[in-house]
């Protein structure tokens, strides 16, 4: 049986004003199943957001996309907008970064949540209003708030309302781009609890983009670490922490302070490479503590290193020992 949602060899190029091309996403593949949560992590500029925008068909016209995005086995990229738009919001929905600030300030929250339903002809009028109340309840907001304007809600409530809006057409896949970044830790916990509930109870498949590794560790079933447009390690979240097989992942963990740990917090030297020139060898080699001469010439492939666990490193078996 085909997977619910499979991304195969996704590539995205942006045309630059100087005539060059920036290869923002380079051969990304992953899949998600109902009720699972995949975290996508990495430094800014590594291609996380571009990847999820490509899945929604929301990239600007300067972008060229190749690869396959399979929903129930059918390719959404096949004829571009024509094949994506029937599924957008209906099957695949998205919560954007800063979504809580994206509501129209002069329209009631309820009307804005109802909009995608009306757009897709799923419900209107009284029926849509009833569904809005149901959605608000699902995300933990009193249904009477449907008549509120955005400024009458707190940041945490607006973020929940944005999630309610994404859920309006009962999607099966939810892409969330930094959904808790601007929130306080207590409100963040409330939103993470909600997303986990939606996935566990309603079977929603979640793709969770964040730069915050502990959030992935506590929320996601699987994680993909991106670097310079590629997935460099992917696997069950537990394996990524306890049996790390890529030096970049190792160094990201080491750069993250933890409440219970007393180990030194170490930053990662250097910066990610530019993506408008072709890279030779491993893109992480200049910043890597394991780099050898082979790494500067030969690009490592993503290879299996464990059960459902892949890594793109020539020395993946030495990662734990050397760190």
């Amino acid at each position: 049986m085909a997977q619910l949602f499979e991304v195969e060899d996704l590539n995205v190029w942006f045309d630059l004003p100087n005539g060059r091309k920036l290869h923002a996403v380079q051969g990304v593949s992953f899949s998600v199943e109902p009720g699972t949560r995949l975290g996508m992590v990495g430094e800014s500029g590594c291609g996380k957001t571009t990847t999820v925008l490509a899945l929604m068909g929301l990239l600007p016209p300067t972008a060229t996309v190749s690869g396959r995005v399979l929903l129930d086995g059918a390719d959404l990229l096949e004829r571009g907008e024509e094949t994506v738009s029937p599924h957008r919001w209906k099957d695949i929905a998205m919560v954007f970064q800063g979504a809580m600030n994206a509501f129209d300030p002069v329209r009631r929250i309820g009307d804005q949540i109802a909009e995608p339903m009306e757009l897709h002809g799923l419900a209107k009028g009284r029926e849509a209003a009833a569904r809005v109340r149901e959605l608000l309840e699902t995300v933990g907001i009193s249904p009477t708030r449907a008549r509120s304007y955005p400024h009458e809600l707190s940041g945490g409530m607006r973020q929940r309302a944005a999630i309610a809006m994404a859920l309006a057409c009962s999607p099966r896949i939810l892409l969330a781009d930094e959904p808790t970044t601007a929130l306080d830790v207590m409100v963040q916990a409330q939103v993470l609890e909600l997303l986990t509930y939606l996935s566990n109870e309603l079977g929603l498949a979640l793709v969770f983009v964040t730069h915050d590794l502990p959030i992935v560790a506590q929320t996601c079933t699987r994680a993909a670490v991106m670097y310079a447009g590629r997935i460099v390690e992917q696997g069950p979240t537990e394996a990524l922490y306890h049996e790390t097989r890529h030096p970049y992942t190792r160094m990201l963990w080491a750069a993250t302070p933890d409440l219970d740990a007393r180990d030194d917090v170490v930053s990662i030297p250097g910066v990610p490479p530019r993506l408008d020139t072709e890279l030779h060898g491993c893109p992480f080699a200049p910043r890597c503590y394991l780099a050898a001469s082979r790494c500067t010439t030969e690009r490592p492939e993503l290879l299996a290193v464990g059960d459902g666990h892949v890594s793109a490193c020539h020395f993946s078996s030495s990662v734990e020992v050397a760190a």
């Binding site: 993470l192 590794l213 306890h242 993250t256 302070p257 409440l259 910066v271």
Partner: protein, 334 residues
């Protein structure tokens, strides 16, 4: 102790600081003479920072941590309380003496993309405080700038001095911002969320600089919402809720043995690195109430999971527990 002045007092002492903002009544409110309402941003905060000590002021947005820091530096007007810096009464200091004092207390901000002038080269930005305070000759300034840049890890200085902010990464910009504070050789550095805008890969480097400066004797007051960072880098932690410090103590003790229910709840929801970590999450309902109508009694009681009826009446003071010196909580049940 080396961290204290000759008279045995910490460099910075804040006592019972109160900052209120008036809420605009609007035209109708003024005509109808509705009572003036206030935002109680800071309601009686006391804290100390010694030389060679890093104190973290933690709490959620709107709890008053940034206002506290601004009032300490006299960037906002405090309604009452006392701020003493090296024995000087900051709040009653005349303008010219305040200016001299500002050399010794510096602040760095959250956003290194906005705090640097995009038209200034790095050397101009870092030298500006010296120019404003009319310190040194041109060549002396140049030397001080190079020294400050190297102190924050932008070495060799000549590689960075002539660059513009857009030629620098976020982490490098924040280093420049720190260098322009250090160039005046301050005694106190206030760091307002110094790494929250930066990538995780460079945060440790910035925090490491603050760590080192602290070891060299600088007093650091760090404002942060990130308990993991406070736990790892601060000597002491003050937890703020709705304009008050509700718990304070040595960092490890506050983290390992929290006594205030609010601190306990906050710590329970901080995500940990280890996916196997499973703790009972204590998720508080709702959000911090607005500081215009502060609850009676203990200001945390409406959200407190263990509140008893007495909590509605008694406004608890910070008290130390038996045998725990310097660890205090404002809770009648602690």
């Amino acid at each position: 102790m080396s961290g204290f002045e000759g008279n045995g007092r910490p460099l910075l002492e804040v006592e019972d600081l109160v900052v209120r903002y008036r809420v605009a009544r609007g035209l109708s409110g003024t005509i109808l003479r509705r009572p003036q309402r206030h935002v109680h941003a800071v309601s009686g905060v006391s804290l100390t920072v010694a030389r060679g000590e890093m104190v973290a002021l933690v709490g959620e947005s709107g709890c008053g941590k940034t206002t506290t820091a601004q009032a300490i530096l006299r960037l906002v007007h405090a309604d009452s309380g006392r701020v003493s810096f090296d024995g000087l009464d900051v709040m009653s200091l005349p303008q010219d003496e305040l200016r001299a004092l500002r050399r010794r207390m510096q602040i760095i901000y959250q956003d290194p993309y906005e705090s640097l002038d995009p038209r200034f080269r790095v050397s101009t930005t870092v030298a500006e405080p010296l120019v404003i305070h009319r310190i040194g000759s041109r060549s002396e300034r140049r030397k001080a700038v190079d020294r400050a840049l190297e102190q924050v890890g932008l070495a060799p200085a000549e590689l960075f001095a002539d660059r513009f902010p857009h030629e620098l990464s976020g982490g490098q910009r924040q280093r420049v911002a720190i260098a322009s504070s250090l160039v005046l050789a301050p005694d106190l550095l206030v760091a307002d969320e110094p790494v929250s805008m930066l990538d995780v890969s460079v945060r440790a480097g910035i925090l490491g600089i603050l760590d080192e400066l602290r070891d060299q004797g600088l007093a650091v007051l760090m404002i942060t919402h990130d308990l993991s960072t406070a736990a790892r880098f601060a000597d002491r932690i003050c937890v703020m809720y709705l304009g008050r410090i509700v718990e304070e103590g040595p960092a490890r003790e506050v983290i390992d043995k929290p006594r205030h229910p609010y601190t306990k709840a906050l710590l329970s929801v901080v995500p940990r690195r280890d996916p196997r970590h499973r703790a009972e999450l204590e998720i508080l309902k709702g959000e911090t109430p607005n500081p215009i109508e502060v609850p009676t009694g203990c200001r945390f009681h409406p959200r407190c999971p263990v509140a008893i009826s007495a909590c509605r009446e008694t406004d608890p003071e910070l008290r130390a527990a038996a045998g725990e010196r310097g660890h205090r909580a404002a809770c009648i049940l602690a």
